[in-house]
Symmetry: D3
Amino acid sequence: MTDSGLTRLDGRAFDEMRPVRITRGFTDHPAGSVLVEFGKTRVMCTASVELGVPRFKKDSGEGWLTAEYAMLPSATHERMPRESMKGKVKGRTHEISRLVGRSLRAAVDLSQLGENTIQLDCDVLQADGGTRTASITGAYVALADAIAFLTERGVVPGKPLLAPVAAVSVGIIDGHVALDLPYEEDSRAEVDLNVVMAEGGNFVEIQGTGEHGLFGREQLGEMLDVAEKGCSQLIDAQRAALGW
Amino acid sequence: MTDSGLTRLDGRAFDEMRPVRITRGFTDHPAGSVLVEFGKTRVMCTASVELGVPRFKKDSGEGWLTAEYAMLPSATHERMPRESMKGKVKGRTHEISRLVGRSLRAAVDLSQLGENTIQLDCDVLQADGGTRTASITGAYVALADAIAFLTERGVVPGKPLLAPVAAVSVGIIDGHVALDLPYEEDSRAEVDLNVVMAEGGNFVEIQGTGEHGLFGREQLGEMLDVAEKGCSQLIDAQRAALGW
Amino acid sequence: MTDSGLTRLDGRAFDEMRPVRITRGFTDHPAGSVLVEFGKTRVMCTASVELGVPRFKKDSGEGWLTAEYAMLPSATHERMPRESMKGKVKGRTHEISRLVGRSLRAAVDLSQLGENTIQLDCDVLQADGGTRTASITGAYVALADAIAFLTERGVVPGKPLLAPVAAVSVGIIDGHVALDLPYEEDSRAEVDLNVVMAEGGNFVEIQGTGEHGLFGREQLGEMLDVAEKGCSQLIDAQRAALGW
Amino acid sequence: MTDSGLTRLDGRAFDEMRPVRITRGFTDHPAGSVLVEFGKTRVMCTASVELGVPRFKKDSGEGWLTAEYAMLPSATHERMPRESMKGKVKGRTHEISRLVGRSLRAAVDLSQLGENTIQLDCDVLQADGGTRTASITGAYVALADAIAFLTERGVVPGKPLLAPVAAVSVGIIDGHVALDLPYEEDSRAEVDLNVVMAEGGNFVEIQGTGEHGLFGREQLGEMLDVAEKGCSQLIDAQRAALGW
Amino acid sequence: MTDSGLTRLDGRAFDEMRPVRITRGFTDHPAGSVLVEFGKTRVMCTASVELGVPRFKKDSGEGWLTAEYAMLPSATHERMPRESMKGKVKGRTHEISRLVGRSLRAAVDLSQLGENTIQLDCDVLQADGGTRTASITGAYVALADAIAFLTERGVVPGKPLLAPVAAVSVGIIDGHVALDLPYEEDSRAEVDLNVVMAEGGNFVEIQGTGEHGLFGREQLGEMLDVAEKGCSQLIDAQRAALGW
Amino acid sequence: MTDSGLTRLDGRAFDEMRPVRITRGFTDHPAGSVLVEFGKTRVMCTASVELGVPRFKKDSGEGWLTAEYAMLPSATHERMPRESMKGKVKGRTHEISRLVGRSLRAAVDLSQLGENTIQLDCDVLQADGGTRTASITGAYVALADAIAFLTERGVVPGKPLLAPVAAVSVGIIDGHVALDLPYEEDSRAEVDLNVVMAEGGNFVEIQGTGEHGLFGREQLGEMLDVAEKGCSQLIDAQRAALGW
C-alpha cells in the first residue's frame, strides 16, 4: 500500500522520484555522452559508434548495439577492488551489462541502422542505489545523440531510433511500496523490482526479487503502478534533455 | 490469450508442461543428487555440504547457501566452447548462477542451519529450453536431501528447510501464451518470462523480457496465471519425488 | 604375482574388471553420445562434428580430432572447485585431455576423414577411479557413432574408423597386481599403470608410475599381462555396444 | 629553444599551461575526491582510507599508500576496449599506476601515518594528453583531504602530509620546447619529458623519452626549465584549491 | 631391433647418448643450480629451499618437493609465445612439470626432510629434444646440492636424499630403436618412450606413446633395454658431477 | 659528488662499471643470441625474426620491433613465483619490457627494415641489479646479429641498423654518485637514474626516481656525467663484441 501521508528518510513521498538530472555533452569524444543523476547516483553514459558490425551480423544489412556497465572502484561507500586488477568481472556486472544491452536494443530498429555498431558504456561515478536504472535512462539519451551524429554523417540508411525507454526501481520497505530506492533503502527492502518501460506504458523488461520475503500478485500490481509513474516522469526528463 | 483448442509443435496444449521427471540419488557422493528432466532438458542438481561458512558469515551463527550453474559443452544443439578452457565464464552463466542462488536461499532459513554451507551445482547434461527453471526445481529436491543428511548427523540446530520453491518459463509465441518453452519455441518467443514461485503462490522472483516486442499489464497477468499453474504442478512433482 | 585365491574389498578377483556398461545415445544433440560406467565411475563421452578443420590443417585434405576431459565439481567424494570459476584448468585435467586425444587419434585415419573435425568431450559425472581409462573406452564408441553419422551424410570420403581402442588401469596393492582400481585402491597403490591398447594387443600408450615405490621389469610384465586381459574384455564390450 | 613569439595550435605560448581546474569534493564517498582538469583532460582522483596495512607492513608502525590509474573506455578519441573485459591490464596502465604511487609516496611520511592505508584511484574521464601528470597533481589534493579526514578522526599519530608534489609534461615539437602537451601535440612530439616536482624545485621523478629522435644535455636543461615553471604554477593551484 | 652397424644423422650409434654435461653452481642464488646439456638441449635446473611447508603438509613432520618446467620463448627452432603474456600455461608444460615433480619425489624421503620445501625449476634455455629427461637428470643434482645446503645449516633432521634418479627418451625410427632423440628424430619417431629410472634399474615412471603407430611387447622390451643403458650412463654422469 | 678516493663494498671506484662481458652466439636457434653480464647480473638477450608485420603495420612498407623482459623464478636472491603460473604479469615486468622496446626502436630505422618483425627477448638468468640496463645493452648486439642475418638472406631492403644504444644505472648512495649499482646498493640508494644513450652522447631515455629522497638539478647533472662515461664504455664493449 502506498502511503502518501508518511515520508521517507530523505523526506520524499513514497511515490516520488529523487531529483533527476540529465546532462548532454558531458564529454567530447563519444558520439553521445550523458551524465545522468538520480539523486546522488551519478552515471556517465556514452554511446560510441563504429562503422561495421561484429562477425555474426556481417552481411545481414543490420546494425548492432551492445553495452557495458561498470563501477569506478571509489563509487561505492566502501571502495571496491578494481575488476581489471582482479582479472575477473563480477557476476553482478555481467548481469547489469546484459540488462542494459537488452533494454536499449528495444529502443532501436537495427534493420534501419545499416551495418554500424553502437557501443554503450555506463560507468558509475557515484553509487547510491538505482545505478542500473539510471544507466538505462541515461543511455537512451546518449543513444539518441549518437544516432543523430550518424544520421548527420549520412551513414544511416533509415530511422533507427524508437520511442524512449527508461527504467526505475521500486521496492517494498516496512510494508510500503517505495519508488526509486537509494542505497540505504535498497539494502533493507523486502522486495526489489526493476522495471524497464517504453513510452506508452508497455514493458521491455521487469525483474522482481523477494530479497527478504516473498511477494504476491497484488503487491506486484501496486509496485508496477508506481513504477509506471516513475518511468513516465523519466521519459519526460529524457524528452526535455533532448529538446523534443 | 491462451487457446486450448490449438496445440503446439510437440502436441502439447498451450498451458501444459512437458513431461517432468525428478530422480533422487542420481549420483552417490553429494549429500543431495537429483536428475531433473523437463522434456529433453536434463540437469544434474547436487547439493554438497561443508562444515563452516565463508568469512563474511563467520560467527554469525547462520549458515550459507550458494549455487553454480553450467552447461556441458555438448549439451546444446551446436557444441559450445568449454568455459574453463576459455578462462572466462560467460555473462549468461553468471546471471543464472546468481538467480539459482537467490531462489534457493528463499527456500532455507539460514538462521536454522547453523554455521554450515550448502553448495548447489546445476550442470546441464542436455539443453532444450528452460534449463534455469529446471535447475531451480531440481535443486530444491537436492537441497531437501542435503538438509536431511545434515540433520541426521546432528549438525543442524533447527529446521532450516522452508516450503518448496519451483520455477517455470512462460512465453508469448505468435500471440499465444505458452508454458514451459522448449528451445525451438524459446528462440522465437516475443516475450519470455521466468517465474520462481514458493508453495502457496507467492513469488520469489519474476524476470520478464520482451525479446522481440514489448508486453503490457494484461499480457503479464495472463502469463503469470499460466506460470502459477505450472509451478503448482512442479511443486506436486517435488513433493512426490520426496515422498511427502 | 596375481593371486586368484584372495579377493578384494569389493569381492572381485585381482584380475577382474568392475561391471562395465556402455550406453549409446545417452544424449540427443551430439553425433555420438555415450555413457560409460566402470563400476561407480560414470563418464559422459560425446563426439561432436564440425565441417572444416583448424587453421594448421587447412588444405591438407585431412581431418582432425581433439579431446577435452573434465570433472563435474560434485563428481568426487569431496566437492572440488569448478575450474571455470577459478579461471584455471588444472595440470591433471590438461594431462588427461591430451592423453584421450592422442589415444583416439590412434583409432582414426585422419587422411580418410576429409576436412572434418571431431571434438570429443569426456565429462565425469561420478568419479571412483579409472576415469581416464573409462573416458578413452567410451570415447571410442562415441567416435564410431559420429563417423557413422558423417558417413551417412556423405561428407566422409573414406573409411576413417580404425580398430577399437580401449584403456584400463592396473596397479600393485600390497604386492598384488590388481586390475581396474577403484578410488579406494588407487589412492594407496604402490604402482599405477594405465594402458591404452588397440584390438590385436598392441599398445597405443602406456604410462606407469611408482607412486609409493619403484617397479621392475618383471612387475611391469605381470601388469601388462593383466592389462591386456582387461582391454580385451573392454573391446568385447565396445563391439557388443556397437552391435558389431 | 622556447620561442614566446610563436604560438601553438590552441593559441598558447610555448611555456604556457592549459587552463587548470581543481575541484574538491567531486564525489561524496571517498575521504578525498578531486576532479582535476588540464584543458580537456579530466581525471577523477580519489583517496580512500582503510584502517590497517598490507601484510608486508604489519607491525611496522608505518602506513602505506598505493595508487591505481585507469582510463574509462570512452575517454579517448577512439573508444578503447575495457581492460576488465579483456581480463588483462595493459603495460601502459601498470606503468602509470606505479608512477603515481611512487610520486605520491614522496608526499607522505609513512612513519607519521600510523598503520593506515591510503588507496589512490585516478580514473580518466576524458583524455587529451597529460593524463598521468594531471593524475599526480590531482591526487595530491585528494591525499591532503584524506589525511585531514583521518586526522580529524584521531587515527593518525603524526603529521604525515609533506609539501605539495605536482607533475607536468614537456615536449619538443618541431624543435620548440613546449609545456603541457595536449594529445595532438603529444602524438607528434620528438621528445617527451614528464617531470614530477616537489615544492621547492627538487625532483621526485623525471622520465624523458626520445619518441622520434634523441635529445642532448642542453635540450634536457631547457625542458627542465619550462617544467619547473609549470610545476610551480600547479603547486600554486593545489594550494589555492586547498585554501592554504 | 637395434642395429649398431648403421649410424644416425648425427653419427651416433643407435644405442648411444648425445654428449652429456652437468655443470654445478651455474648460478649463485639458489641452494642448488645446475646446467644440464644433452647435446644441444640445455636446461637450467635449480633447487630453491624454503623453511616451512604448504598448508596440506602442516604439522605432518614431513617436507615437500614440487617442480615447475618451462621453455624460454626463444629456446625452440621457431620462437614460441611467452606463456606469461598469454596468461595461460600450455597443457604440455603442466604435464612435464608434474612428471618432473613425481620423478624427483621418488629421489627424496620426505619424512627425513623436516618441514622444509624444495622448489625445483627447470627452465629450458635451448631445446633440441629430450628436454623433460634432461630436466629430471639435472634436477637430481640440483636437489642433492640443495639438501647438502640444508643439512649444513642443520635444518634437516634426517638423511632425505635417496639414490640417483635419471631419465632418458627412446624411440623407434624407421624401425630402429634409438636412444636419446634430438628434435629432428623425435618429430618423426613412430614410438616415443620416456623412462625415469632409479639407480639399481627399477623404474620410477615410464611413458610410451605410439605417435605414428602402435608398439608391441617385444618392441617395448627392446626400448627398455636401451633406456636402461642410457639411464645407467646418466647416473654415472650425475655421480661424477657430484664427486661421489 | 663523485669521490674517487673512496671505494665501494665490491672495491670499485664510484664511477667504475662492474666487469662487463658480452657473449654472442649464446644459443643456436634465434637469429641473434647474446649473453650479457654486468658483474653477477646475467641476461640472455635474443632477437628472433619473422617475415611479416603485425596488423597495424600491414602495407606500411615498414618493419616492427618489440621486446619482452622477464626474470626466471630462481634468478633473484629469494625465489619469485613464476608469472605464467600466477596468470598475471607484474607491473614491473611490463614497465621494463616497454622500456627495452622503446630503447631498441631508437636503434633501428624501421623504414629500412622492410615488412619484417624483430622480437627481442631478455630473460634474466641471474639478477644482481641493473637487469634492465644490461638487457638493453645486450639486446643491441643481438639485434645487430639478427639484422645481419636478415640482410644476408636478402629480405632487408635497406640499412636498418643505427648507431649503438646502451644503458646504465647511476644512483646516489650515502650522498655519493655511484655507477652501475648491484642489488645491495640499488636497494638502499636515495636516487636511482637509468640512462639509455646512443653513441655520440645523446639520450634515448632517462628515468630518474627519488626512491628515498628528492634530487636537484645539480645532482642530476653529476649523475648524467657518470652515466655518459658508463654508456661510452658499454658501447665500446658492444663494438668489441661485434668486431666493429
